[in-house]
């Protein structure tokens, strides 16, 4: 067991941490609140190789492991970066894995320049892909429908859906013009694996949200005095932060383990993807709620940053589903393994 990132991984963490610190101060997050998308930040992330890292060398990428990407996602989350990194990475990785002419062409467009390809996490209902992450900034979306993996161009930019987390979401109609990338069993497997990747990266991004929430709460609890002492000396405050910090630390371990398992323990990869995202979603919710509450009335004011984390913690994973839904998906995976041994 080695819980330390490798030297290369540490360099990756340091590079992206420095990047976000410089390019994504909280003013920039606030400035992008209306659309949830900062096109310049996304362009800078592209320059950093954010998409290339997600795909194999043959497809023109760096062939990073999911764990490498997870370490970047954690930084992304801790800065609440308003750019559709996770969706774009998952979409690109899916296209590279799919192979074939249509997928290769779509990947070419995604890597080519100012053309964002995202992924819908659920099949369309009534011809509409609901709450597509990155959807209001995207030029093209990959989706799964009735046994087929498809992509479709978004001709006019989709209307952003106002939402809790100020994210670039859109409902996208897919009634015509879609192209089939893969069909049948392989299509379903590719789509489910992409969903697993998204869950793992989201889990790690939520670790970033939770960790930063704890920092904000702890800093405030040390500074703010009431009844003549710092409020962090009251157990009613300290114990809530201790519980939340414990859950976030545990979440960091399971989120990284899930990313590691994608390459190194395939038999448990899906259950860990589900469990890690469900757990980290709840841990980030609790951490941001506790920290906001311990800010007193200030936590309720838009001016204080903790509200940004509180809203994002709830909304970000919700485009996949509630934590309970993730736990159930993971349990189905475990039960089928246990059941075959009975």
């Amino acid at each position: 067991m080695d819980l330390n990132p490798s030297e290369e991984q540490q360099q990756l963490i340091d590079a992206f941490s420095a990047f976000y610190a410089k390019e994504c101060p909280v003013e920039r997050v606030r400035a992008a609140e209306s659309s949830g998308h900062d096109a310049d930040l996304w362009a800078s992330l592209r320059t950093m190789g954010a998409l290339e890292m997600a795909i194999d060398e043959q497809s023109g990428g760096w062939d990073a492991s999911l764990l490498d990407m997870a370490l970047v996602a954690e930084q992304h989350g801790s800065y609440l970066a308003p750019a559709p990194l996770i969706e774009a990475q998952v979409a690109a990785r899916l296209l590279a894995r799919t192979g074939g002419h249509a997928a290769a062409a779509a990947l070419g467009r995604a890597l080519g320049g100012d053309h964002l390809v995202t992924i819908a996490l659920h099949p369309p209902r009534g011809g509409v892909l609901a709450l597509v992450p990155g959807g209001s900034a995207a030029d093209e979306v990959i989706f799964f429908d009735q046994g087929q993996l498809k992509c479709v161009a978004i001709v006019d930019r989709a209307r952003p859906v106002p939402n809790t987390g100020s994210m670039p979401l859109a409902d996208i109609a897919v009634d015509s013009g879609s192209v089939v990338l893969e069909s049948g069993e392989p299509a379903e497997q590719l789509f489910e694996s992409a969903r697993d990747d998204w869950l793992v990266l989201m889990a790690n991004a939520l670790v970033g949200v939770g960790s930063r929430s704890i920092e904000l709460g702890v800093d405030y609890a040390k500074e703010r005095h009431a009844f003549g002492v710092p409020i962090g000396s009251f157990q009613a405050v300290a114990h809530g932060l201790a519980d939340a910090a414990t859950a976030v630390e545990g979440g960091k371990l399971i989120a990284r383990e899930a990313a590691w398992a994608a390459d190194d323990e395939a038999a448990r990869a899906r259950e860990l993807a589900c469990f890690s995202c469900g757990f980290c979603a709840e841990a980030a919710r609790e951490a941001s709620y506790r920290s906001l509450h311990y800010h007193g009335g200030y936590g309720f004011m838009l001016e204080f940053d903790i509200q940004l984390y509180f809203r994002r913690a709830r909304a970000w994973p919700a485009v996949f589903g509630e934590p309970t839904h993730m736990y159930a998906r993971g349990a189905v995976e475990r039960l089928s393994a246990v059941g075959s041994g009975l």
């Binding site: 040390k222 009251f234 300290a238 114990h239 201790a242 371990l253 736990y327 039960l335 246990v338």
Partner: protein, 387 residues
């Protein structure tokens, strides 16, 4: 990064499984359940014979020099099986204190006996008026020549009826600050003046009250300096930081998964296909994974040459609170049948959910309450000021 424990751990885990298959028999289980005593002399002896008691100890003491992650893998299996290990753990913890802080004579006399399974040592810290505030102990030790005379009372002296010695925290100087007037002794339990009174708990586990009236102990059995007891306690407690976690939850989850796969609802549909059942099982499985990882992190830190501090508090806090939630949740999941207890043929898996619900109550208290762990995490981990 690598989340595999390693080949040495895998090998010792396999050995532990084989050992448990052979030695954690129905007879041993039955004795545990009927007496509430989580120590079994035959089982303890078998551990010694098979190198399953102290594999982490150096070879010169009869151990195998295994590292913390290897020992943890073995301990995870014992905990998941629900095997009786508590008296073994307290004995080894005290032996470890003596190894680091004892006199040469104590090391020569006590440690080999402890590792050979010839003696059992239990803990005598907690008192009626001193629980979490353990340094408030009032049990008195007064010097009389080469001996000390002890008077007082200890709570929760678990396994005292099985034991040869109690590792006793006493007050030797009432005039100084409470942490500065404490001394620890290894007190022989089988002597006049020691009274052991059984105490039965909600989980069915037996513990004891122990009373000490003019009990005499030789100065050669004093551990550490006179009035230096707090240093001894501090060292002793650091040995407790790489314990396995999540095993009791894992045993419970396995039983509940089996139930879900083999039971049907009124409409004949498998419980394993019920979304509510799936969500409860999944949440518990996620929490157990986290409990396991937090505990493994402690052993990993220890292998790296650092004593886990805050990491140990997080592991203990999270795992015991998780067991408390899970056992309640699974009782609800089983519906009215959730309250059926062991002995009722209709109880699911011998009533493991309702048993765990009662068992969990102790886990958030002994070894430092959840509140004490939160204080440690807040102050040492987060850097928040003391109250």
């Amino acid at each position: 990064m690598d989340f595999r424990l390693g080949e040495g751990s895998d090998a010792l885990r396999d050995e532990a499984r084989r050992f448990l298959d052979d030695n954690f028999t129905e007879d041993v289980r039955e004795r545990m359940h009927s007496t509430g005593v989580h120590h079994d002399r035959d089982f303890h002896k078998a551990r010694v014979e098979h190198g399953m008691l102290a594999p982490g100890w150096p070879v010169e003491y009869g151990g195998q020099g295994r590292d913390a992650l290897e020992v943890l893998a073995m301990a995870e299996e014992f905990q998941t099986a629900g095997a009786p290990t508590y008296a073994g753990s307290t004995t080894l913890m005290v032996a470890n204190v003596i190894r680091h802080m004892g006199t040469e004579e104590q090391k020569r006399l006590i440690v080999p006996q402890a590792l050979a399974g010839e003696i059992v040592i239990v803990l005598g810290f907690t008192e009626p008026e001193a629980g979490s505030d353990v340094a408030a102990a009032q049990t008195r030790a007064v010097r009389d020549g080469e001996e000390w005379v002890i008077n007082g009372q200890k709570m929760f002296t678990t396994n005292a009826q099985e034991a040869d010695y109690v590792f006793l925290l006493t007050r030797t100087n009432p005039e100084v600050a409470k942490h500065k007037g404490l001394t620890t002794f290894l007190v022989p339990l089988r002597q006049p003046g020691v009274e052991i009174q059984p105490v039965f708990t909600v989980s069915g586990e037996r513990t004891n009250l122990t009373f000490y009236s003019d009990v005499r102990v030789d100065d050669s059995l004093r551990i550490g300096e006179v009035d230096g007891g707090w240093d001894i306690m501090t060292v002793g407690l650091t040995f407790e930081r790489s314990l396995p976690q999540g095993g009791d939850s894992r045993r419970l989850l396995r039983a509940m998964e089996r139930w879900a796969l083999t039971s049907v609802d009124d409409a004949g549909r498998a419980k394993s296909e019920d979304a509510d059942v799936q969500a409860r099982l999944g949440r518990a499985a996620a929490e157990i994974e986290v409990s396991t990882l937090l505990a493994r992190r402690c052993a990993w830190v220890q292998n790296a040459g650092t004593l886990p501090g805050v990491e140990g508090s997080m592991a203990k806090l999270f795992a015991t609170e998780a067991l408390t939630r899970q056992s309640a949740d699974f009782m609800d999941m089983l519906g009215p049948d959730g309250i059926r207890a062991d002995g009722d043929p209709a109880a699911v898996a011998h009533g493991i959910a309702e048993y765990s619900y009662r068992f969990a109550l102790g886990t958030t208290t002994y070894g430092g309450t959840s509140e004490i762990q939160r204080n440690i995490i807040a102050q040492r981990g987060l850097g928040l000021p003391r109250a």
